[in-house]
Symmetry: C2
Subunit: 275 residues, 2 copies
């Protein structure tokens, strides 16, 4: 493959198509929520998170790579065009602090704070261990094509907790191998999206598909770019688990592991659910 | 005690004194970082988190109670006065989305997003179990008075992982009973602060006290006001644990449990550390 071919193929990937932004001014972009990643009543939250991140990554003042992102889902995102506004709030030696607003019809529908920073080689440790799971090749691919648009964009292999609304799961635990259905090398945008690819745990815990939506999502990116490059297009291992559900909200945490047993990212969210 | 006496005592608590804000306009406050909760090179992050939350709680448009808060520590907070600016970004039926800026000398030193919402009674579940720990009364109080100002404001009983820089801890795990040294009934401000009361895990993991600071802190409040009221001034059980440290940053998660074995809040942060 020539470089031109590779670039053409990358541009053709539905994820990149969904994240297309048009620069209007420095830090101001226009875009349209992609039907390719539509959920039941709006775009898949993971793609919204990646869209907010992309605004920062395209900003000329950005140095380094994503470290921490929080996305707040403030209101339903409609199929209409949006404006993305990116501001570098504070620029330091080891971190840059960004804020991002996604506005539709002049109102904020989602916002994010993002911390970026240059790479440093330091002491390292990994007290956490990856979950024990069968090899991806030994786990059947889940038939997601008939479900929502966004779900069919991912290839998921459920080692534990495959979606089954007939049976309630007390733990709400899911463990799955995950990658784009159409192969795409792993990057921070993909991680930001995949961090939200594990459905609200309330579906599992109750065994019913009641209305539920992410309210706030925070993801920490522990992996350096070379680790993501090494993972390439192979599936990563995700494990998602809630701690408690009360008063119409529950938390859940997601760990995303490389197949070399390195923790690439960890993500936490608060989910609203209807009784 | 008369109501007046109770109010006078509450006002006299160092935590409430530290959180004192002067309203300048709707959503605009002035304050001074409190020396009562000073850390080594700035105020204790937990009190900064509580200060940002307090600006929202004092806003006349606020309904309900805190659900999710993310605080970004953008630059060193100095002992100088600050201005707090609170904006209700989006007001919905089940959630309100707030943003808060803490500015010193016209520059943002810290910011927060906060989601609040009215109480709803719903289906509930608690897949997580509280950690096994000795009763608070059976764990000696840690002698924190000689250390930093903020640390001496808390009474901590380390069931596991008492600070000891002579011994590196591979897991970085701490489990401790925690309350204000001067008794104060538990509320959301206290939880926001206590969520940051477990020192950067890198101290434990490396067994050295190298420079480290929280970059971003997200806390989810699962408990309703009546649960906090029931906990009153008795110690809560906290457990803090990191997953991975790489490239100058590590994550850590904190669970805060009532003594009735209910998960009150869960908190996650990304910590910067110097090699």
């Amino acid at each position: 493959m020539t470089a031109a071919t590779i670039l053409a193929e990358a541009a053709a990937h539905p994820f990149d198509e969904a994240l297309t932004l048009k620069t209007v001014a420095e830090g101001v972009y226009e875009g349209v929520p992609s039907q390719l990643y539509w959920n039941m009543a709006g775009p898949f939250g993971g793609v919204t998170a990646a869209t907010l991140m992309k605004g920062v990554l395209e900003h000329p003042a950005m140095r380094g790579r994503p470290l921490a992102q929080t996305v707040n889902f403030c209101a339903a995102v409609t199929p209409d065009p949006f404006v993305l506004k990116v501001v570098l709030e504070r620029d330091g030696k080891s971190t840059q602090h960004w804020s991002v607003r996604l506005e539709q019809a002049g109102q904020m529908a989602a916002n994010a704070t993002l911390v970026t920073g240059p790479e440093r080689d330091t002491w390292n440790a990994q007290p956490s261990q990856p979950p024990t799971a069968r090899d991806a090749a030994d786990v059947p691919v889940f038939a997601s094509q008939a479900l929502t648009a966004w779900f069919s964009q991912y290839e998921m292999r459920f080692d534990h907790g495959a979606p089954n609304l007939d049976v309630a799961s007390e733990t709400g635990l899911i463990r799955a191998w995950l990658r784009d259905r159409q192969a795409r090398p792993l990057d921070y945008l993909a991680l930001a999206s995949m961090a939200d690819a594990f459905a609200p745990r309330v579906f599992l815990m109750r065994g019913v598909r009641a209305p539920a939506a992410t309210v706030s999502l925070s993801t920490y990116f522990l992996a350096a770019p070379d680790e993501l490059a090494a993972q390439d297009v192979r599936p990563i291992l995700g494990e998602a688990q809630p701690r408690a559900a009360r008063h119409g909200f529950h938390d859940q945490s997601v760990e995303l592991w490389s197949d070399a047993k390195s923790l690439l990212a960890v993500s936490h969210q608060l989910v609203w659910f209807k009784d």
